[in-house]
Amino acid sequence: MTDITIDEEIAAAPGPATPSGDPSGDGSGGIDVGGGDDGGGDDGGETTVEGTGRRGLGWRQVLAAGLVCFALWFLLDAPTLLRSAEASPFGVRRTVAVDVLRPVASFDRALGLSHVVGAADRVMGRTGMGVVQLSRSVPRSARHSARPEQLAVSSSPGGHGPALAPDGFPQLAQPTNADPLHVLVVGDSLGVDLSSPLVDDLVATGVVDAAADAHIDTGLSRPDYFDWPAELSNDLARYSPQVVVVFMGANDPQNLVVDGNAVSFGTAAWSTAYGARVSAFAKEATDTGARVILVGMPPMADPGLSAAMQVVNQQFALAARVPGVTYFASSNALADPSGAFATYLPDASGNEIQVREPDGTHITPAGADRLSQAIIGEMERALAVHFQP
């Protein structure tokens, strides 16, 4: 969009733009091989790239330089590569990669190179691949403890102990701006999609202090890759939440390793082992007095993945049979009336909104808003509290 005349524009426009690094400007790449030696290898003297004055290399020299580069990088970055290999799905490829990388990684650790990676992570404030949100509404020092003995107690008729909320835990006092409810949201990449809108909506009520900790490519199936129980333990100590919303499972339909043995996904043994992990994860939170809302995975566009999510959701639902743990099916907000996958769903005014990304798995911001409101509604029901002003 220039101010020159149309004739000048046309005169300027059609000519080829000067390709990068080619001051000759003829746009041809500046190289014309008219036969002769195409087999590589220079002619003994230094060759220069036409029109640049820079020394050129033969293709075999470039290949050699590349091999030196990657060999050196492989040797020095083996611990990181080993971690990536260990995170990959179980199988021959993983086994070979780990077997090759493990001795090299040990050598690197002996040289102290792994400390460099750790130091870089600390400098850049990286604790993983997570998204951590903090609400600013209440300073940490004023955080309300989630211990059961500090929960509101109201006498039931006949004085037989505290009243219970629908989730089976003692009834909470109605949260206020001065004494907000503390909520933690954890999850995988779908948790990343959900966490910001949910935290935002919760804080906007004025009676909730919320934080989120979501990590892509994670779940409960591979603690060797990302240890969610340990991460949750840190989060519980740090945020002292009264409610933990869990939204993960999309990466969990894969083989488990239990006591050194592989357990195939889709088997009864897998369901038992995975179910135990979900229950233990929830118990970690309820042992601190926090209640847990386990949000099931929504239906997926891919029928196979959707069926796999049903298996995962079943274990989440079973884990909610104890006091303090509630299961909420996200299909209530992200499926069509028949419970099937839907890219578009109507909003409150009847307009269609896109709730799922084109990949058929992740959730759009509009979909996350919709799910967030549904989860808040469930939270109000399960805890018998009221958030809306």
């Binding site: 000067t18 390709p19 190289i31 020394r55 470039v62 850049m124 998204v131 600013r136 799922r356 084109p358």
Partner: protein
């Protein structure tokens, strides 16, 4: 497959070797390049290759017909049919959902029923890029600027993997002659290629990823929780993030092409040193900018006609340029801001010309002010480009002025340094970079490899775990 992955490194090692081994055999080389490029594209989704093949066939059929017609009117009709056919791919895959959703909701709002089915359409990676390349090829043949290419040459041109999924948008007249020639295997510009690839990886893997995760993503995801300072730094941060991400990608693409003996046009030229929006578009995504100029703005009339017509041409070009980036009102708003800004700039220049005024003096203070103001307008537009909705964009802008006293935990010294670095690096003189490349190129081959190995280690150490896709893959 993404550039900064070991999968791609292995693929490229094979492609590089095949490229030079087959270089003396042009026909075999071309078929091998097409096969490698289609394999590269199928890595995302094997179904995408049918789209790429279909567009190649449509483009070739179009120029075959155009090339046989001499009469102007039938020639124009043949061109129109070709363009409609090519654009129909883009319209379906990229815009049908947006169009249907808005039409249906508008009719619903008026009390009518829904007329268009809402279907889930997978968006093929890079469809905007290779569709625009196909269009430029057909139009250039129509304008008689190039001859129709052989089918296999066209197949290589459109599918060539370094530029396939996120540009640069290379013209037929730039790349087809290079495809027809054999490249010199003795004079590979490794110094420049290595610099471009290393710098591109650093920008994408380290700088862009860090700024995104540290401040941009948290702020844009939940602006109501953020202070005004955090919002301001996030907006500037996004300017750096998208520059680093996109220019990093195209640097890598240009560097890879150099290793294969090809020269691509540059795509960025220190865009945040621009002194006006017009200047910005001479520096930002230059291959898109010239495409819009040559295939949209000038055919609309360009600078010819009344002030109103010129303003119309500018607005149409920029609105469609915005829409090219994505099917959402936020991208249209982004284009509108640039359009309005350019119309205002054009009007000011015309008024000065009409009044016979001398051009404004290029004093340091004036230049700095122009750069500062242009950068603010560009960043304002970026707010809409990045926000997931118009509501989020306005919330962000609103909170920019309302909460300066709140704590800003996301604004750390390292975040500020990263943003400042991303802007400041654009002021590094190009001859300094050129000297660095020359010096590097003089080292022994093994030393060059070793230096690159250490640089690669630094990049992977400083970068996050996992690889985020390039922003412009979505387009």
């Amino acid at each position: 497959m993404l550039f900064p992955t070991t999968d791609f490194a292995i693929f490229f090692a094979v492609a590089f070797t095949a490229n030079w081994l087959l270089n003396p055999y042009p026909r075999v080389w071309k078929l091998a390049m097409v096969a490698l490029s289609y394999f590269f594209y199928s890595w995302w989704d094997w179904r995408f290759v049918f789209l790429l093949a279909a567009e190649t066939v449509v483009a070739q059929a179009g120029v075959a017909v155009i090339g046989r017609i001499e009469a102007p009117r039938p020639r124009r009709i043949a061109l129109a049919v070709s363009l409609v056919a090519l654009l129909s791919f883009l319209l379906w895959f990229k815009y049908y959902g947006f169009f249907a959703l808005n039409v249906d909701n508008a009719l619903h709002g008026l009390g009518g029923g829904r007329v268009l089915p809402l279907v889930r359409v997978t968006l093929p990676v890079g469809v905007s890029f290779f569709t625009f390349m196909a269009i430029s090829y057909v139009v250039d043949v129509y304008r008689r600027e190039i001859e129709p290419a052989r089918p296999v040459d066209l197949a290589v041109y459109l599918s060539f993997f370094p530029h396939l999924v996120a540009g640069p948008i290379v013209r037929g007249q730039e790349l087809l002659p290079q495809i027809r020639r054999r490249r010199d295997p003795r004079r590979i510009d490794f110094g420049r290629a290595a610099w471009l690839i290393a710098a591109g990886l650093f920008k994408k893997v380290v700088l862009s990823s860090y700024i995104a995760s540290s401040i941009v993503d948290p702020v844009f995801a939940a602006p109501r929780q953020r202070s005004s300072l955090e919002i301001l730094v996030a907006i500037y941060g996004y300017a750096v993030q998208i520059y680093a991400d996109f220019s990093g990608y195209t640097d890598i693409a240009i560097g890879l092409a150099l290793l294969l003996g090809f020269r691509f046009p540059d795509n960025f030229d220190a865009p945040y040193t621009a002194r006006s929006l017009q200047d910005f578009w001479r520096r930002w995504h230059m291959t898109l900018s010239r495409w819009l100029r040559d295939y949209l703005y000038i055919p609309l009339g360009g600078n010819r006609g009344s002030r109103l017509l010129v303003a119309r041409n500018i607005m149409i070009t920029m609105l469609l340029g915005g829409l090219w980036h994505g099917a959402a009102w936020t991208f249209i708003a982004w284009g509108a801001i640039h359009g309005v800004g350019q119309v205002i700039g054009h009007e000011n220049r015309q008024r000065r010309l009409a009044a016979g005024l001398e051009p404004l003096a290029n004093g340091r203070g004036r230049v700095a002010l122009q750069r500062f103001l242009t950068f603010q307008v560009v960043c304002l537009a970026w707010v809409f480009f990045r926000a997931d909705s118009m509501a989020t964009a306005f919330t962000l802008l609103g909170r920019l002025f309302t909460d300066w006293t709140a704590a800003s935990p996301l604004v750390t010294p390292l975040v500020v340094l990263a943003v400042a670095f991303g802007i400041g690096v654009q002021y590094v003189p190009s001859d300094a970079v050129e000297r660095l490349q020359r010096t590097f190129a003089r080292f022994p081959v093994a030393a060059q490899g070793a230096i690159l190995g250490v640089v690669l280690l630094a990049i992977t150490t400083l970068g996050p775990q996992g690889v985020a896709p390039f922003i412009y893959y979505r387009f």
